[in-house]
């Protein structure tokens, strides 16, 4: 028997007339990072709560580690680490005390738990702050403590709800690296939800676009991008030459449109091409005597996707709220 980490079939949650999650089919394997992407209010958190047995489903099937979370919540929660959106800790306790309490909830043996707490605090860079009360922590520190808190039980599945929402860009990169490492090095199944597609797409093996309770697209980032009507590829090019000449040279290439000149570094241009034309681009620029020092495909191939689903849905939500 092969156990999938997470599998749902037709998972549905209704609150009265409102359907928060509508017939969700989802499968996440071990060692895989799955990104549940969608605008706010799409039903991501509701889905996660159903997977943990914290909310009853209205219809459909859910299996976590081969178990029904509604019927075996303890076994499921023992092995699933959950980092909630805007994670909270007891402000009157120190970071270490908070982790200790989680260890106790998970019935970890005291000495093993202490060693693990030290190790995790170090790995999230909170060793110095470990014995300060959490009310003195910044949001980013809380988020990092949250990650340590999730890992203390050595989970086989990690579910992260908007993990990058509260932290600065550098912190996001570190966090994403840790998450990726969990899946690759330790075979953990990771389900993360986010409304910030560009931030998380690069660490997700597969993503699902979740809008208004429905999964509208699912697959690898490349698959999804391929399905888009526009195959536009965004590239950042750094050229150490005369700006006007560079602009002219770039614009002269067929199928390429200059989108933007960086305000931070005027030598860096963003261009949109109808496909991945990086090699060709470098060749043309060099041939014209323009020294290229950087060519970088920007990870927003799903830009069109984002526009199509997220902004549209958010616009409608705003429209609904106004009306």
């Amino acid at each position: 028997m092969d156990v999938t980490a997470i599998r749902t079939t037709g998972l549905t949650k209704r609150y009265g007339d409102f359907t928060a999650v509508d017939g969700l089919d989802l499968e996440v394997g071990f060692g895989e990072v799955f990104g549940l992407l969608g605008p706010n209010g799409a039903g991501k958190t509701t889905t996660i709560l159903m997977l943990l047995g914290l909310t009853e489903r209205s219809d459909g099937e859910a299996e976590v580690l081969g178990l029904d979370p509604a019927r075996h919540p303890l076994e499921v929660k023992r092995q699933v680490g959950y980092l909630p959106d805007e994670v909270g800790f007891y402000g009157n306790l120190t970071g270490r005390q908070n982790l200790r309490f989680t260890g106790r909830l998970n019935r970890l043996e005291r000495r093993a738990a202490e060693a693990r707490i030290d190790e995790l605090l170090a790995s999230v860079g909170l060793t110095d702050a470990a014995d300060k009360t959490v009310e003195t922590y910044s949001r980013g520190m809380r988020q990092r403590l949250g990650l340590a808190d999730v890992l203390i039980k050595d989970p086989r599945i990690v579910i992260l709800d908007e993990p990058t929402a509260a932290i600065d860009p550098v912190g996001v990169l570190e966090l994403l690296a840790v998450i990726r490492g969990l899946a690759v090095d330790r075979g953990v199944a990771v389900l993360l939800s986010s409304h910030l597609l560009p931030q998380v797409e690069r660490i997700c093996d597969r993503v699902g676009i979740f809008v208004r309770g429905r999964m509208v697209e699912q697959g690898t980032v490349q698959e999804l991008a391929a399905r888009m009507p526009s195959r536009e590829v965004l590239v950042e090019v750094g050229v150490d030459g005369d700006p006007e000449m560079t602009r002219a040279a770039l614009a002269a290439i067929p199928g390429v449109a200059v989108r933007d000149q960086s305000r931070l570094d005027p030598r860096v241009w963003t261009i949109a091409a109808d496909g991945d034309r990086r090699r060709e681009l470098v060749g043309i620029l060099i041939a014209q005597g323009l020294p290229v020092f950087q060519v970088h495909r920007v990870g927003i191939e799903l830009d069109a996707l984002y526009q199509r689903y997220f902004q549209q849905a958010e616009g409608e939500a705003i429209h609904d709220a106004v009306a």
Partner: protein, 338 residues
């Protein structure tokens, strides 16, 4: 039920720095209760309430011991003189049992008003519930932990009072006195438990701690200040008392008042405290003069006293259970995130 080892070994080898202990399906409430209690014991609240109640207790004992000494010659040979420490009031200070009847609610409310809503404002509830515990472990554990902290405060106060009494008066408690004291202690914990349950109920339904505290305190104030007024007016409607009332009508009215007043935990507690601590109290109900005509004044044994207060104690437990039950059901039905 967990997946079979064959099914998990493929990935289990990768994630296994700490051995997975088997999860007992019960006992989560104990972990939460232990945390709650340690939070309370380390908190300012506990310190303030212990000091406040301790001062009140010592003051009333000092007054009471003076009172006992005054009546001592006449009272020598009186039953259960040790317990008088707890029940005698002086001119300006109430007796210790009355202090507890009055301040007990405050104790219960102080330890319960932010039990659940604090988890919500701190956003710790989803994280807490994602641990391998049942949902009711949270509310059970919180109640148990707070009640244990309250029982500890009360025990400290009682022991201090008893100690002061023994030293000051040289009265040594008889075994029966100790039994009576323990029985009273048990009833007091249930009584304060009622207010704790009420405060917990408020904390489940009112999202802000301040609102919850105010709601619980107003119930207390209404019960304390208006109970006799409410009881009187309702009784006069249900069992009218005309100007030329017959004896039966008067009796009916008085009985009705008595029954209605036992809907209030404060009254139940005060009555049972008297009957438990004072062996000469033979009933908490009405006594008509013909019933005591030519009765020989005597004292009740401990078990007889218990029999007298048993209905009251059961009523008090029932009130507490109803209140906690409502909080429990409310908490179980709420969404984790709200």
């Amino acid at each position: 039920m967990t997946p079979s080892p064959e099914a998990t070994s493929g990935t289990g080898a990768l994630v296994g720095a700490v051995a997975l202990p088997s999860i007992p399906s019960g006992g989560g409430w104990r972990i939460i209760a232990a945390k709650e209690m340690s939070d309370h014991l380390n908190g300012v609240r506990f310190l303030l309430l212990t000091i406040g109640l301790g001062l009140a207790a010592v003051a009333s004992v000092a007054a009471a011991s003076g009172g006992i000494r005054d009546v001592a010659p006449a009272a020598s040979g009186a039953p259960a003189i040790f317990l008088k420490l707890f029940t005698i009031s002086s001119d300006n200070l109430p007796a210790l049992v009355d202090w507890i009847a009055f301040l007990g609610p405050l104790l219960g409310i102080a330890f319960g008003f932010d039990a659940v809503n604090n988890e919500r404002t701190e956003r710790t509830l989803p994280r807490l519930l994602s641990g391998p515990i049942w949902r009711d472990d949270v509310i059970n554990g919180k109640f148990a932990g707070a009640l244990a902290a309250i029982a500890l405060i009360l025990a400290v106060v009682v022991v201090v009072v008893a100690g002061v009494g023994i030293v000051q008066l040289g009265v040594v408690p008889q075994p029966e006195d100790i039994l009576r004291l323990l029985a009273w202690y048990g009833v007091a914990v249930v009584y304060i438990g009622f207010w704790l349950a009420l405060a917990t109920l408020c904390s489940v339904f009112l999202r802000r701690a301040a609102g919850s505290a105010l709601a619980a305190l107003s119930v207390w104030l209404i019960a304390a200040a208006f109970s006799s007024f409410l009881v009187g007016s309702v009784a006069d409607v249900l069992a009218p008392l005309p100007a030329d009332a017959t004896f039966e009508q008067q009796l009916a009215n008085a009985t009705m008042r008595q029954d209605l007043s036992h809907l209030f935990p404060g009254n139940i507690f005060a009555d049972s405290a008297q009957a438990i601590l004072d062996p000469s109290v033979r009933t908490t109900g009405l006594v008509i003069s013909t019933q005591v005509d030519r009765a020989v004044p005597s004292v009740l044994s401990f078990d007889q006293s218990l029999l007298v207060v048993w209905p009251q104690v059961v009523g008090l437990i029932a009130l507490t259970v109803v209140c906690f039950g409502a909080a429990y059901v409310g908490f179980m039905r709420q969404e984790v995130r709200a």
